[in-house]
């Protein structure tokens, strides 16, 4: 089987003249295909270190590119573009612009840990995916992903009260992501739930709107965790040089 090279080259790097004659020979169409050479000029030498500073990314340096992670990956099976092995390669090479091509799907890792199970080098690719999507957000390359918004709403409530009430979390999530709570499939689901529920249970579900489950004597834990989070955020700001980024942006604006 011959390899059709064109299928391996990104369409934007293929140039074809529709109407061209060279030394009296008509070479219009695919005869005139020109492939633009790729030059990498923007290595980010700090990329691997920065990812390694974020939780989950610590062991990225162990990777030897066997591809077990991508082979085992749940999301890769439904979207071939989702390729943890390749992203780990790009990060270690410092090829930031190439990584940014996939910036909008990296957060879609479902944390099933099949990659971590398969990895012969204990890279913890699942953690690397989390660290990478976190990095993309901290650096301002992507807005907060729906997943991060959900994580934050959830964590805020746990830190505040010690427990989570799922109905409230769902409502806040739809609010904060600007979605309509009355999604047709959600309505359908609630309807089928109501079919068999006794009145007592309905009242309980209704009351959950007003009563927040709480762990008693929680304020000590709450303060300790908030303090820890502030400490970690400060660490990440420094590790990713976020203050310098802000300064650079300001100078450019002036």
């Amino acid at each position: 089987m011959p390899i059709h090279e064109k299928s391996l080259i990104r369409p934007e790097n293929l140039h074809v003249q529709e109407d061209i004659e060279l030394e009296g020979v008509d070479v219009s169409g695919h005869w005139s295909t020109f492939i633009e050479s790729r030059v990498v000029t923007d290595y980010n030498e700090a990329l691997e270190e920065e990812i390694a500073e974020l939780p989950g990314g610590e062991y990225i340096h162990r990777c030897w590119q066997c591809g077990s992670c991508t082979n085992a990956c749940t999301v890769n099976a439904i979207n071939g573009e989702f390729n943890p092995r390749y992203w780990i390669y790009l990060i270690r090479m410092g090829m930031e612009s190439e990584l940014l091509r996939d910036k909008d799907i990296i957060w879609q890792c479902v944390s099933c840990n099949k990659c971590t199970y398969a990895c012969p080098r204990d890279v913890f690719p699942e953690g690397v995916m989390k660290a990478t999507s976190h990095w993309l957000e901290l650096k301002g390359h992507t807005p907060k992903s729906p997943s991060m918004i959900f994580d934050e709403i959830f964590s805020e409530q746990v830190i505040k009260t010690g427990k989570i009430e799922d109905g409230r979390t769902v409502r806040r999530f739809f609010q904060r992501t600007g979605q309509d709570l009355m999604q047709p499939w959600l309505v359908e689901m609630v309807k089928s739930m109501l079919r068999n529920l006794p009145i007592g249970m309905l009242t309980r579900l209704g009351l959950a709107n007003f009563i927040t489950p709480r762990t008693s004597d929680w304020s000590g834990a709450r303060d300790a965790m908030n303090e820890y989070i502030a400490e970690r955020e400060e660490h990440h700001r420094k590790a990713l040089k976020l203050d310098e980024l802000v300064q650079m942006a300001e100078t450019e604006l002036n």
């Binding site: 479902v110 840990n113 729906p146 997943s147 427990k163 989570i164 047709p184 359908e188 000590g220």
Partner: protein
């Protein structure tokens, strides 16, 4: 594993601390009521962990893994230091996974030990030390105390003629290193092909189908934030179960369970794919098999309606 160890587990698990976790007080309340009802009917004792908190779930872990470790460690600290108990039983795969992960990290990572100790002191409770508490899943609990033989003796409504696909999900077996007791040969659970739920349901008379997606992912992490992916993953699981001949998918995790139920409905709405396989907690199936009424195991709280099905099968 020697006969002696099996016996000591049997004794040890007769009375355990019970950590339901947040989901079992909300969307997974049927799992809570069925676990309690099953334990009671089997003569096992549980004591709910006093004043427990969220284990941190995947969400807090995503914000900071050590914060999740602290939250899980607090639950184990109360079990050991306040209640003087050495075993905590957890039905939710997410909580179970997190307590196991906290145990592993606290036994192997000095930095985690330092952070957890600092946070525990500030919060004003004893720091949990690795090894104080053994975390077990509700599957371990029933399997080790009652076992297949014990169940067979107690079956009143056999699950005979019910074809079941056993679905274990991600968090019960992965990653392997946080479950040192698994993959230890005969008698232990397997991380690649788990079988504890199969064993118990078979003892209750069920016919387990060969189900290749036992430990596939339901996309529970992104049930709401990336619903399309979750719907695809769930549809794949439901269709594979039906193709294997299953009438029921037995579950052991509130997130998987409600994920399967929600996206079964969503798949019909968004993809036009309808599946009829019933989604029932293993505790509900075992409970009905030993003679508990469907309502006693919270069957009415499930989203997917399996009342007619269990009546037809002679379980009601």
């Amino acid at each position: 594993m020697s006969e002696k160890n099996l016996k000591s587990k049997k004794e040890k698990y007769q009375e355990v601390a019970y950590y339901p976790g947040c989901a079992l007080e909300g969307s997974g309340s049927a799992y809570n009521s069925s676990t309690k009802a099953l334990g009671k009917a089997l003569g096992l004792k549980i004591k709910e962990v006093e004043d427990w908190n969220c284990c941190g779930a995947m969400e807090v872990k995503n914000i900071d893994p050590k914060l999740q470790t602290y939250l899980s460690s607090r639950v184990m600290s109360i079990t050991a230091n306040k209640m003087n108990m050495d075993t905590v039983m957890v039905p939710c795969n997410g909580c179970y996974h997190n307590l196991k992960k906290a145990e592993y990290d606290l036994a192997n990572d000095d930095e985690t030990v330092e952070v957890v100790d600092r946070l525990s002191k500030k919060a004003g409770h004893d720091t949990y030390e690795a090894g104080q508490v053994e975390t077990i899943h509700s599957l371990d609990w029933v399997k080790e105390t009652i076992g297949e033989e014990g169940l067979k003796e107690r079956v009143k409504n056999s699950l005979d003629g019910i074809k079941i696909a056993n679905y274990y999900g991600c968090m019960y077996t992965r990653p392997r290193h946080i479950f040192p007791e698994k993959d230890q040969g005969p008698g232990s659970e397997s991380t690649s092909k788990p079988h504890f739920m199969d064993d118990l349901l078979e003892a209750a008379g069920a016919e387990n189908v060969e189900f290749p997606l036992k430990t596939a992912c339901c996309g529970g992490a992104h049930t709401l934030s990336d619903s399309d992916t979750s719907t695809l993953l769930v549809t794949n699981i439901l269709q594979a179960a039906e193709a294997a001949g299953a009438e029921v998918i037995a579950t052991e995790c509130p997130t998987c369970h409600s994920g399967l139920e929600m996206h079964q409905i969503r798949a019909e709405k968004t993809l036009g794919i309808k599946t009829n396989v019933k989604i029932i907690y293993f505790t509900q199936l075992l409970g009905m098999a030993i003679g508990l009424k469907p309502k006693a195991v919270g069957l009415h709280e499930n989203i997917s309606d399996s009342f007619d099905f269990v009546k037809k099968k002679g379980l009601a």
